[in-house]
Amino acid sequence: MIDVLYFAWVRERIGLAQESVETTAATPAELVTELAAREPRYAAAFADTSALRVALDQKLASFDAPLAGVREIAFFPPMTGG
């Protein structure tokens, strides 16, 4: 089980801010493939992962980083703070 968080337009497209997911995905990229296969709203949110960022346990990571031991993963668009 892993907590999956969505922010900004990713959250809007999926219609959820957070969910717990049962997965054997080894990387964020594999998790994206699983989620996109679920429903069109997920497929729409993950259509272009080059437009997305991912954080593992609240640290920016790459889509091919290992998911082993990670408790919280977040998907969001590039940040626009400041």
């Binding site: 968080l5 922010f7 900004a8 337009w9 954080a55 609240q58 640290k59 920016l60 977040a74 969001f76 668009p77 590039p78 940040m79 626009t80 703070g81 400041g82």
Partner: protein
């Protein structure tokens, strides 16, 4: 060193009161304030979403790196989230150092990293609806200078 992520308004001028006092080596202080800009007069509000927990961790790490690189005597970051009116301060950074070059460089470094590495997302609200603000390639490019 002080960091505040808050949904309440703040006054940059009031926050600067007392900043960096008590350090006799302080020769230079720089502050930056970002405000809700309304170029066309059509903006009703700016909504800012963030990632609680990661926001504080990411900005703390950026501040620690800046403090080390430029031997800062003091450092302050305030960033709002929630709904902001046009003209309202969104965020501020302040830096104190012995000389001006260090204080300026640290403030610009903090701003460049806050723009692209702190998990905030902005949405502009007008009469036509809501529009997510896109990240600018120039903001990502700005990181290459450090």
């Amino acid at each position: 060193m002080r960091l505040s992520i808050q949904n309440t308004p703040f006054s940059p001028a009031a926050e600067l009161e007392g900043f960096a006092t008590g350090h006799r080596e302080t020769g230079a202080e720089v502050s930056f304030t970002g405000r809700v800009r309304d170029d066309t007069g059509a903006l009703q509000a700016l909504e800012i979403e963030h990632y609680p927990g990661m926001t504080e961790a990411a900005i703390s790490a950026i501040m620690a790196e800046a403090a080390t690189r430029w031997q800062l005597l003091d450092c302050l970051v305030i960033h709002r989230f929630g709904r902001l009116a046009p003209g309202a301060p969104i965020m501020m950074v302040a830096t104190a150092a012995r000389h001006r070059a260090e204080a300026f460089a640290a403030a610009e470094y903090l701003m460049d990293y806050l723009k692209s590495r702190a998990p905030f997302w902005k949405r502009e609200i007008t009469a036509e609806g809501a529009q997510w603000v896109g990240a600018k390639a120039s903001d990502e490019d700005a990181l290459t200078r450090w």
